[in-house]
């Protein structure tokens, strides 16, 4: 394991040397939307493309084998990183959105031969939460619409956690799926996975975890969590865009119908019919994203080398500094649990009284402080709290305390700037 030296970590990220048009350093606080990539990830992709590129699992020439080996060993690396012991359980997808859609579509693609627990039908129920990213809400809304099932949701409480008061009535023997996020991409709330899994199991429902915001920022072990499926995204964990993953229990995947059809996912094809390959191939139709998988494995190696526990602690300190700092500014409200809540994660959303987040973000941008503004693909959450949107800072391995202070300064500057127009 490598020493924690923030300067040497920062030196791994070429983009951090970029400046604004007027020469100020950029303060990148938008890793929750997409993370920057260290040189090690970029080099891994370049090395593959310049030395080994070929279609995987096709043909027998030397390059084809050269490409297949690192692709499959990337799967192993990534699987192990999230606690998956059988790499057949890790399906490469183009992003987490696709991973969640694969589950939602597969659950309505079955026929009479599909086991009942893997087929959502009229009269069934699907339970989600009010804090979900659209990627873990819209596919379930549409699954309900296609099948005649009913969508229900766990509401948000005033303290930005899930209100589990009525959990026992929200879950019924008709509930087939419970889909929820590990940690909110807006409020930073970490959900009680164990409690939700236990309750879902009591009624025999499948659990689907959106782990997009947790996998990059803390140790995640999908087996320990006890969920049935988990989705995460490469570009939020220092890896490339165009790759994500769906993890699922093998015994479930093995009985689920495919969603995308075509090359690579077949066993035998005749003019009349086709039989399908075992997972993961069954869910990976077509030529896959090869250099991206290799880049993501390099990102996983990079994260592992720093240690997920240390990354989580680094971000916990930054989050505490940011939340406390923002709470101390007059007219600023942090939209998320206070910094003293144990396990609060590092998405720090805030609202400035009387100012639209877009206007706040514009002033921050002029100071080189890059945050995300808007509803962060969690429109129902913002509606719940009566907000048109929020500004959100999020952190990564390369974020410094000085950068958090720059955020606080720029928020004060924005408030002063708009006060001129009172």
């Amino acid at each position: 394991m490598r020493d924690w030296d923030i300067e040497s970590i920062r030196a791994d990220f070429p983009i951090l040397t970029r400046t604004t048009a007027d020469g100020q350093p950029i303060v990148y606080l938008d890793s929750g939307a997409t993370s920057q990539r260290p040189r090690q990830v970029i080099d891994a992709e370049v090395d593959f493309l310049t030395g080994h590129n070929a279609a995987v699992k096709r043909g027998a020439h030397q390059l084809a084998e050269d490409a297949t080996d690192p692709y499959e060993s990337a799967r192993e690396t990534i699987a192990r990183f999230v606690g998956c012991r059988d790499e057949r359980e890790l399906i490469f997808t183009k992003n987490a959105t696709e991973a969640l859609n694969i589950v939602a579509y597969s659950l309505s693609n079955g026929d009479a031969s599909t086991p009942d627990h893997l087929r959502v039908k009229e009269g069934d129920e699907i339970l989600v939460t009010e804090m979900e990213h659209h990627a873990n809400l819209v596919p379930w809304q549409e699954l309900a619409r296609r099948t005649g099932a009913t969508l229900r949701w766990i509401p948000l409480a005033d303290d930005f956690t899930l209100d589990l008061t009525d959990l026992d009535t929200l879950l019924t023997e008709r509930t087939k799926v419970v889909a929820f996020t590990h940690q909110s991409n807006v409020t930073g709330t970490i959900n009680p996975v164990a409690r939700l899994v236990e309750a879902a199991k009591d009624v025999g429902a499948l659990t689907v975890l959106d782990a997009c915001q947790s996998v990059p920022h803390m140790p995640v072990d999908v087996q320990d969590l006890g969920v049935d499926f988990a989705a995460f995204s490469g570009h939020k964990m220092l890896g490339p865009t165009g790759i994500g993953a769906l993890w699922g229990r093998f015994e479930l995947l093995a009985e689920m119908p495919p969603v995308m059809l075509g090359g690579s996912m077949i066993e035998v094809v005749t003019m009349e019919q086709t039989t399908f390959a075992e997972p993961p191939a069954r869910f990976e139709a077509g030529t896959p994203m090869i250099s991206q998988a290799i880049g993501l494995a390099a990102a996983v190696d990079y994260l592992s080398d720093l240690g997920m526990d240390r990354i989580a602690e680094h971000e916990r300190q930054l989050t505490q500094r940011a939340v406390r700092g923002l709470e101390a500014i007059d007219g600023v409200r942090v939209i998320g649990p206070s910094s003293d809540v144990p396990g609060r994660a590092g998405a720090v959303a805030f609202a400035v009284d009387g100012r639209h987040p877009h206007d706040i973000g514009q002033v921050l941008d002029s100071q080189g402080v890059l945050v995300r503004v808007g509803h962060h693909c969690a429109w129902p959450l913002h509606r719940r709290y009566g907000l048109p949107g929020t500004s959100r800072a999020s952190f990564s391995v390369h974020t410094t305390e000085a950068e958090v202070d720059a955020l606080l300064d720029s928020v004060r500057t924005a408030i002063d700037f708009f006060a001129r127009f009172q």
């Binding site: 639209h356 877009h358 206007d359 514009q362 002029s366 503004v373 913002h382 048109p388 949107g389 127009f421």
Partner: protein, 157 residues
């Protein structure tokens, strides 16, 4: 403070943001549209009332939620359009569109745009162009709906 920011935000913008002109959903109206900016959640509900002969815009009642730029834009636009003929409005809109897509090269003619020149500073900020133009696109849609509705009524006669 860097200068581009003051080019974007002026006293005038905040006047319209805080004291929006013509706001409120009044009756009667010929058509109503609801436009959203899905990336940031800005919303406008815009109604249009045309004169008896359909040539003139008599009222543009609206309700707008969003950033200062989008709200000021709705306020300024309705001030400019109400009482004008469709032809006059088309000319103003075309000029506004050109300025807003000029990436800061065209400031806009004050004789044509009036207070609207205060909005064209946003053309230097590609991410903000849609904030300004949301109300203007809503007008185009509302007008099209109003004209269709009138044609349908005439055909029914």
């Amino acid at each position: 403070m860097t200068s581009p920011l003051t080019a974007l935000y002026s006293e005038l913008i905040f006047d319209h943001d805080k004291h929006p002109q013509n706001a409120g959903l009044r009756d009667p109206f010929d058509a109503e549209v609801h436009h959203v900016n899905p990336t940031c959640g800005d919303e406008i509900t815009l109604r249009i009332r045309l004169s008896e002969d359909g040539r003139r815009v008599e009222d543009l009642p609206y309700e707008a939620q969003g950033c200062a730029m989008s709200r000021a834009s709705a306020s300024i636009m309705t001030d400019l359009f109400i009482g004008r003929t469709r032809e006059e409005i088309e000319e103003i809109s075309a000029h506004m569109d050109e300025a807003m897509h000029s990436r800061g090269r065209i400031a806009g003619d004050e004789d044509v745009l009036g207070d609207g020149v205060a909005l064209t500073g946003a053309s230097k900020f590609p991410g903000r162009v849609k904030c300004v133009l949301m109300a203007w696109k809503a007008y185009q849609a509302a007008l099209a709906d109003a004209l269709t509705a009138r044609k349908d009524t005439e055909n029914d006669r």
